[in-house]
């Protein structure tokens, strides 16, 4: 199809979104997109959700930390921010989410806000609360395995 004249093309804003999860979370692109649309549908309704758009352009996650670029319609950034904030889990895995910034082009969005995360994570045995436990360590963040669950800690809490 012939593409639209410039003044009729939709204008977009690109949200740089930071994602955090427990290290054993199994996040994928489809699941995250579904969670995003689901959250928007629930918070903004079908009409508001269609207006906002919220299309996932890029997504990368490793060992519980990741980032994504979400395309939204210009003029619906506030609604989109609210919808993004109300994503609390993806396929049953709880996630933390934050809008790092907003740009008018994908390129500016990537250059300014992306690629800063995802330091290598390592598995290590640590002493937490007087017991030896395994932890997944990323920078100074320690996700310590206690029983069947993780506890979020930092270098501070490790003896």
């Amino acid at each position: 199809m012939k593409h639209l004249p410039k003044h009729l093309r939709p204008r977009w804003r690109y949200l740089a979104v930071g994602i955090e999860a427990w290290p054993d979370a199994d996040l994928d692109r489809r699941g995250f997109q579904r969670a995003l649309w689901y959250a928007a549908g629930n918070l903004l309704g079908d009409a508001g959700s269609a207006d906002a758009g919220l299309e996932l352009l890029s997504f990368s996650v490793a060992d519980g930390e990741g980032e994504a670029v979400v395309r939204v319609r210009h003029g619906h950034v506030d609604e989109s921010r609210a919808a993004v904030a109300s994503v609390s889990e993806v396929d049953g895995d709880p996630i933390g989410i934050r809008v790092r910034g907003i740009s008018g082009t994908v390129r500016a969005c990537e250059e300014r806000y992306m690629g800063r995360a995802v330091g290598q994570s390592v598995r290590r045995d640590v002493a937490f609360e007087d017991a030896e436990r395994t932890a997944v360590v990323r920078e100074d963040a320690y996700d310590v395995r206690t029983g069947s669950e993780y506890v979020g800690a930092t270098a501070f809490d490790i003896e």
């Binding site: 955090e20 903004l44 609604e79 609210a82 904030a85 109300s86 609390s88 993780y150 979020g152 800690a153």
Partner: protein, 242 residues
């Protein structure tokens, strides 16, 4: 802006991890509602009170020690408030049933009535007036709005709306929080404002609610400091130890 969280052992992240995340989200401070989280390590707490200041230095986030009293009845809550008031900067009472809500708003030693509409209780004009007169802040819990869906969320939203109408009419003080129990449940202030805006809160009003935690902490720290004698009376420059 400040946020109030549940830390390990009550929640799934330690005080330091909350502080690290809050700093990234752009908060100025963090109110730790879990009593055990900042108590000394030999009592079984995860981090020591001295660590509170160290954490604050490390992550550049103010760490406020607080307590959330979750009692079955006003008698129990009253005893706990008496015990905790001298030791903690911020004292919250978890509301829910009618008697507890009423107790909390009528007790000037309480700073915050947390989650007033969580249980069967409810909130009315009588409680709002009492809260205003006693300076008890009413908490608006955004947790269910962020983390629930369907009927639960609808009920939480309608409770929030009712609470908002009553509290704003009587101009009772308020605080806003996402009630996070792990670093994953924390949301940045702008996100909370955006969500609030969607569900009918005035953006500036939400920001005010987030700042209120900070002003409670500042006021109480001053009251607990040695220079404070009574409201309006400070120990002067020329007074010496006797």
């Amino acid at each position: 802006m400040y946020e109030a969280v549940h830390a390990y052992p009550d929640g799934d992240a330690t005080v330091a991890r909350h502080a690290r995340t809050a700093a990234r989200h752009g908060y100025d401070g963090l109110v730790i509602r879990t009593r055990a989280a900042l108590e000394s390590a030999n009592d079984g707490g995860a981090t020591t009170a001295a660590d509170g200041d160290a954490i604050a230095d490390e992550y550049d986030v103010d760490v406020v020690d607080a307590v959330e009293i979750d009692a079955d009845d006003p008698t129990g809550a009253s005893g706990a408030v008496g015990n905790c008031r001298p030791e903690h900067t911020v004292v919250c009472v978890a509301g829910g049933d009618a008697a507890l809500n009423r107790y909390a708003v009528e007790e000037p030693r309480v700073d915050v009535l947390a989650r007033p509409s969580a249980g069967a209780g409810g909130f009315n004009h009588v409680l709002a007036k009492a809260a205003r007169d006693n300076g008890v802040h009413v908490e608006f819990d955004f947790g269910p709005v962020l983390r629930r869906s369907g009927g639960d969320r609808v009920r939480a939203l309608s409770a929030l709306r009712k609470l908002r109408e009553i509290v704003t009419y009587y101009d009772a003080p308020h605080v806003v929080s996402a009630n996070a129990s792990s670093h994953l449940e924390l949301r940045a202030p702008r996100e909370l404002v955006a969500v609030g805006d969607r569900v009918g809160f005035d953006p500036e009003w939400v920001r005010e609610g987030l700042r209120a935690w900070g002003s409670i902490a500042t006021r109480n720290r001053e009251r607990r400091s040695e220079r404070f004698i009574e409201p309006g009376v400070r120990r002067g420059r020329y007074e010496t130890e006797r």
